[in-house]
């Protein structure tokens, strides 16, 4: 089980790989769409890569609720529990 800190670091790596955004710009309170300018296609790629990295399942209907990086970290953390 990964800590929230580790999940954030891993998620930042995935976001960087997909979008080129600096990992340190991926912070808990950032909105994927408004702050990080991540479109829906990139978001789906990030979600699928996060599923593989953290060994969790993020249902499609849940993705629309993941508005901020913190939402995603908390969801992954909860799903791992």
């Amino acid at each position: 089980m990964a800590s929230n800190e580790e999940i954030l670091t891993g998620l930042a790596e995935i976001v960087n790989e997909e979008t080129g955004l600096a990992p340190e710009s991926v912070e808990m309170d950032k909105s994927f769409t408004d702050d990080l300018d991540i479109d829906s296609i990139s978001m789906m790629t990030i979600v699928v890569n996060a599923e593989e990295k953290f060994g969790v399942r993020i249902p499609d209907e849940e993705v629309k609720n993941l508005k901020t990086v913190g939402d995603a970290v908390n969801f992954i953390s909860g799903a791992q529990a």
């Binding site: 790989e17 997909e18 979008t19 080129g20 829906s40 790629t45 699928v48 599923e51």
Partner: protein, 411 residues
Amino acid sequence: MPRKVVITGLGATTPIGGDVPTMWANALRGVSGARTIEADWVAKYELPVTFAAQVSTPASEVLTRVEAKRMDPSTQFAVVAAREAWRDSGIEELDKDRLAVAFATGIGGVWTLLDAWDTLREKGPRRVLPMTVPMLMPNGPAAAVSLDLGARAGAHTPVSACASGTEAVHQGLELIRSGKADVVVCGGAEAAIHPMPIAAFASMHALSRRNDEPELASRPYDTGRDGFVMGEGAGALVIEAEEHALARGARIYAELAGTSVTADAYHITAPDPEGLGATRALKAALFDARAQATDVVHVNAHATSTPVGDKPEYVALKTALGSHVDQVAVSATKSQTGHLLGASGAVEAVMTVLALRDRTAPLTINLDNQDPDIPLDVVTAPRELPSGDIVALSNSFGFGGHNAVIVLRSI
């Protein structure tokens, strides 16, 4: 009189150079881009052909990692070549509603398609990337170039196998003549050096099997030719209405004087042995350019190095140009680049423009014993072209019986 169209920008990424200056220097020197393929899949699938002409500069060295991730290799090559052509044109201000794209491919995003199929079978549907469709679609290169340059007067993708790149130049000319655009970025891209297309082309005995001597394998017009060599890359040209180019003080390379596209309606893969469709294309293109056969001094031939393909082109040239064919310097540059399929016509158009600019024809390598049935004047050593107003042709033919010819005139 139709609008006069000129060429003001050139770009290329090829097996003999990752940009136009490098490619052209090599084309005049005579080098082979063919090498043994360093990939584990050659042995894994026991491919009967183990070599190809891969791009000399990987697109990953030119594009950012994130750009490359969202593009099939064919689109990567298109964007690399189109950006070079655009920079070369020097265009700074333009109403992008008047800028169109005509960018061809023969095969499309075959790497993306087959990678996604592997992923589906090995990992299931959820792992198939959401960018798969825009990456595999054949209009991907044209769309990416349009997006990259902001071209809004339409993005077109002519698909006619190995005639595609030349047909894209033809379409570009039509777009400007018809008034739909003032500037067109046209070209072709191909990235099909993948085990499946290699197996498929090998299965129809289209590929050379000179596995021990890749550099000698592409040998158009030579009696020892045994098939073409798969190439990859892209070529791009910025073409422009003459009045538009003059108004902005552009450097003009040559006039795109005329084009023609015909169909054989003879056989799905075999060329018409009498070259009737190719002859009609040649004659129509010269007519379109208001040029006489006797104006022609140079031809960049399709000449892929297959036993059956090279001769019908000669027959067509002889029929269309008459006895003047003996006065024409013929270059078979696929001897150096390999066959870039849907990109070949665009790369060869770039070379033909440069031949007119420098009044020098590029070399044909590996011609040791010229086929006596093809008595063309083949350029095997540096050859100066005449001064004065001269005309050059570039031919492309494709499976499906597609014939495409462009006519270029010196400035």
